[in-house]
């Protein structure tokens, strides 16, 4: 009985000891943990902000009957799993790193008689403390970041802020706690495993190991360097030249070549450049140049791979942060012509089955969808195609798959009827003439070229020439995809001699109603029409905006994730290097090197370690971005510049924070 009580007492005192020790450890190493904490906080903040999108919609008073926005926010949540896995890898890496630095401390605890079980508990307490702190700080920061994000969302979707109110997303908080809770559990499991692997001897003698500094094989490095440059240039070439045919394949293979090249380049670069630095004795023997150079040579092997990892992650980060919003802008480019009507219904019969359905308008009525209930202003028409007249006719290019799609042909009278619905003047065509119409900016340049040398159009037996000023800028249907091949307008009888392809009906509401769109939508769903598609103006716009939102946010979300990862990996490595360097800088100090000179040497080293991956990443992403932006035809230069400027600003500022934090942290560690 007594012994039980005693054991209990000793246990509870051990408990208290743990609590004190762990919180003391966290406090003591708070500065060492700063980067780790900062990274965790930033990731939680990012995670919360992008998972609170659906709450943002609600706070903006945005309705979403077709769940396009809900879809976007779901996709972001799904990608959050990927983000979490990346973050998890980073956190485990960082933690293992920090744990290794504390081997000795753990060894002393073990010598003093703490069991493995107790050590595990100590570690768990620390993990928990940091986890809870960063979770709280991250969610706090995230709540404010989400407000900013919802302002951006409002702008992207193009709605006013009248309904805006401060919001906190319970769902995002629950998700953050859940995801990061699991993550911390994993971290703890890895910690336990790592601790298990260490022998007591190893723990106590940690940090006493001699470092084997050596010089890489010069010849091999030069060879590797040459190969790496070839790989990188080959990758660039592939991205540029091959992407004409098969964009995604070219980007993937080219990107892979560039990444392999980068890894080889960084592995060889340090060896080659320090070799060169050593060869120039005049420079080598000046001031503490010898020291600075040796700092690089002693870490060639290990640093090469970590620099390569940073460069690759930064490259992905740059590309995604710029291409995401860029694609978003491209998706929305020409939106003013996307919804000329209150609604468009279209029907594409199966090939050779045109007559089977009879008159589509009648079929609609029979199915219970009577357009007259909503509108007296409507026009229905068929579009036609001729297999010989393909997109290449206008673009002048052959070969690409996209150029083999037949062009849409509309009869002049039909075309003028739908223009009348927009209160636009009719198009005039003489017999034997045709006109071309386009809705979106991408076609503008192509048609400018076409107008210089218009080709004659052969339809059956007749040959048409293009009318003077025969190029029109019209939208003639509601659509949620702002891409087109151009439309040909030909005399009505010629069009009708071709095979009808698709049936369209454009309409404007002529009835007053509180929520005509919702009524229309419900009626349409009730009718359950097969093969028919309707785009009301509202739906088309929401669909477009949610596409825009999705690609923009996905790009930024993943981009920043990669950015944080690369910054944290680099910063942690450099900081731990700095602690390894305490002794070396101590020797320099005793030898009479001034603090100013040592700081200069430190800056030089950090500049190389942070700068080298940055330069490579900027080069790679510049090529990639440029190659991809070539396909975003019709996008204004100012828009492109703003997208690139935004990406560069975000990345450089976060990367800059990591650089400065590393420099200041190193100075603190080295007491400079």
């Amino acid at each position: 009985m007594l012994s039980n009580r005693k054991r209990f007492e000793s246990q509870s005192s051990l408990h208290g000891f743990f609590r004190k020790l762990s919180s003391k450890n966290v406090k003591k190493s708070a500065k060492d943990y700063f980067i780790y904490f900062f990274t965790l906080m930033l990731s939680v903040c990012l995670f919360y902000s992008f998972n609170s999108i659906s709450t943002q919609f609600a706070s903006l008073g945005l309705e979403d009957p077709l769940s396009y926005l809900a879809f976007s926010s779901t996709v972001l949540t799904v990608f959050s799993v990927l983000v979490c896995i990346i973050m998890g890898a980073l956190v485990v890496y960082a933690n293992r790193f920090l744990l290794r630095r504390r081997k000795r401390e753990m060894g002393i605890y073990a010598v003093l008689g703490l069991e493995r079980k107790d050590l595990n508990r100590l570690l768990m307490r620390e993990t928990l403390q940091i986890g809870v702190l960063s979770l709280l700080a991250g969610i706090g920061l995230g709540i404010f970041a989400a407000q900013l994000l919802s302002l951006a969302t409002a702008r992207l979707i193009g709605i006013s802020l009248t309904n805006y109110h401060f919001m906190i997303s319970g769902k995002a908080i629950v998700l953050s706690v859940l995801f990061f809770g699991i993550l911390f559990l994993f971290v703890h499991m890895f910690n336990v495993k790592e601790l298990k692997k260490m022998s007591l001897l190893e723990m106590l003698h940690a940090g006493k190991k001699n470092e084997t500094a050596g010089e890489g094989k010069r010849g091999f490095s030069v060879l590797l360097g040459i190969i790496s440059v070839l790989f990188i240039l080959g990758g660039y070439g592939l991205v540029f030249v091959m992407s004409e045919k098969d964009t995604f394949k070219a980007l993937a293979v080219g990107g892979l070549l560039v990444i392999i090249g980068t890894v080889c380049f960084l592995r060889s670069a340090l060896t080659i450049s320090t070799g060169l630095m050593k060869r120039n004795k005049r420079r080598y023997y000046r001031g503490i140049h010898i020291f600075t150079t040796s700092q690089f040579t002693s870490r060639l092997k290990t640093e090469g791979s970590s620099l390569a990892m940073t460069a690759v992650l930064l490259f992905l980060s740059f590309s995604l942060t710029i291409l995401g919003p860029g694609l978003g802008k491209f998706v929305m480019n020409g939106i003013e012509n996307a919804t000329p009507y209150d609604g468009t219904i279209f029907y594409a019969p199966m090939a050779g089955n045109t007559e089977a359905g009879g008159d589509p308008l009648e079929y609609l009525s029979q199915s219970g969808f009577r357009i007259n209930e909503f509108s007296d202003e409507y026009a229905d028409f068929w579009t036609y195609e001729s297999p010989e007249i393909t997109a290449g006719f206008l673009s002048g290019k052959e070969g690409r798959e996209a150029e083999k799609v037949p062009l849409t042909i509309i009869g002049l009278e039909d075309y003028n009827r739908i223009l009348a619905l927009q209160n636009l003047p009719p198009v005039q065509l003489a017999e034997g003439e045709y006109a071309v119409s386009y809705a979106f900016p991408a076609m503008k340049e192509i048609l400018k070229v076409f107008q210089q040398e218009p080709r004659p159009l052969k339809l059956g037996d007749s040959t048409l020439t293009m009318a003077d000023d025969g190029i029109f800028h019209h939208g003639w249907e509601n659509t949620n995809i702002l891409a087109e091949q151009g439309t040909l307008i030909v005399p009505q009888h010629l069009a009708e001699s071709l095979t009808p392809q698709r049936w369209f009906m454009n309409f404007n509401f002529t009835r007053e109603g509180d929520d005509l769109n919702l009524e229309l939508h419900n009626r349409w769903v009730d009718a359950g029409l097969n093969g028919y598609v309707m785009w009301s103006r509202e739906e088309a716009l929401v669909s477009l905006s949610s596409d825009n939102l999705l690609v923009t946010y996905l790009g930024i979300y993943l981009g920043i994730t990669f950015l944080i990862t690369s910054g944290a990996v680099l910063a942690l490595r450099q900081l731990s290097q700095s602690s390894d360097n305490i002794e070396r800088y101590g020797i320099l100090k005793k030898l009479g090197v001034s603090k100013r000179d040592m700081r200069r040497s430190l800056r030089k080293q950090l500049r190389v370690y942070f700068g080298l991956p940055l330069v490579l990443a900027v080069l790679h992403s510049a090529v990639t971005v440029f190659a991809v932006f070539r396909y975003f035809e019709g996008l204004h230069l100012a828009v492109i510049a703003s997208v690139i400027g935004f990406g560069a600003l975000v990345i450089l500022s976060v990367y800059g924070v990591y650089f400065i934090a590393t420099y200041l942290g190193s100075r603190r560690i080295l007491e400079l």
């Binding site: 500094a213 050596g214 004795k281 001031g287 020797i587 005793k590 090197v593 603090k595």
Partner: protein, 255 residues
């Protein structure tokens, strides 16, 4: 002739929560050009604190330290760094060679820091390597050398800049007796042939017996002084042992 080092009434106090520890308590002495002086004392006697003050790594609480007539207690941080590299050479217990540099580059670093022209550096290194017989190990990294070899490279580094004073802190502390003997030979060479002024802190009587004069420190004060003069080293060693046993006997009062 002016003394190379003049310590006047030096005091160094550490304050910890109400209690004051007098690590160095009113110490004064002088070191002449070309002297080889040892400072002995048990651990905690204040000898390392004294050395740290002289080597400008620590700041004295009161008193003056003059090296070549210059009062180093009044110098700013930047001037101190400059002073250290121009006037002082260091030999440490744990060698303190940069593990990332070869022996040659470790020595070159000290010269480069002092702004010696790159063209002269190689020549100076060859010279000092000849004197200390370390030519064979010059291009090895510290981890490829034995402790004695590392310490001799450290000696070369300390002397190559021709400092006015070489400070050695327990230089044989991490060496076996044979290596320690070889190192003391090297230091004697520096002192006799190169006319280097050496101040060495040690608690090892054998090591101390190589010095020409020895100061004994106890509780932060100079307790005794021995001069070797023309005595043989064996005789000097016996004298040192006598003082030490007397010093140690002091402790017995506690029991």
């Amino acid at each position: 002739m002016n003394p190379v080092l003049k310590v006047e009434n030096l005091q160094k106090f550490y304050k910890t929560k109400g209690a004051v520890t007098k690590a160095v308590n009113h110490i004064s002495f002088e070191v002449e050009q070309g002297e080889y002086i040892g400072i002995m004392g048990a651990s905690g006697s204040g000898k390392t604190t004294l050395l740290n003050c002289i080597s400008t790594i620590d700041k004295a609480t009161a008193g003056q330290i003059l090296i070549q007539g210059q009062n180093i207690t009044a110098l700013s941080e930047n001037k101190l760094a400059r002073f250290r590299r121009e006037q002082l050479g260091f030999i440490f217990q744990d060698f303190n060679l940069l593990d990332t540099l070869t022996g040659r580059d470790n020595i070159a670093l000290a010269l480069a820091i002092n702004g010696v022209k790159p063209g002269q550096i190689s020549r100076l290194i060859e010279q000092v390597a000849d004197d200390l017989e370390i030519k064979a190990i010059l291009d090895k990294y510290p981890y490829e050398m034995s402790g004695g070899q590392q310490q001799r490279v450290a000696c070369a580094r300390a002397i190559v800049t021709k400092p006015s004073l070489i400070l050695a802190d327990e230089p044989t502390g991490a060496l076996d007796s044979k290596s320690a003997g070889m190192l003391m030979e090297s230091l004697s060479i520096l002192n006799e042939r190169k006319k280097a002024t050496i101040l060495m802190v040690t608690h090892d009587a054998f090591t101390a017996s190589h010095c020409k004069r020895i100061l004994f420190i106890k509780d932060g004060q100079i307790f005794n002084e021995l001069v070797r003069g023309e005595k043989s080293r064996k005789k000097f060693f016996d004298e040192i042992m006598q003082v030490i046993s007397f010093l140690g006997g002091d402790n017995n009062y506690a029991f």
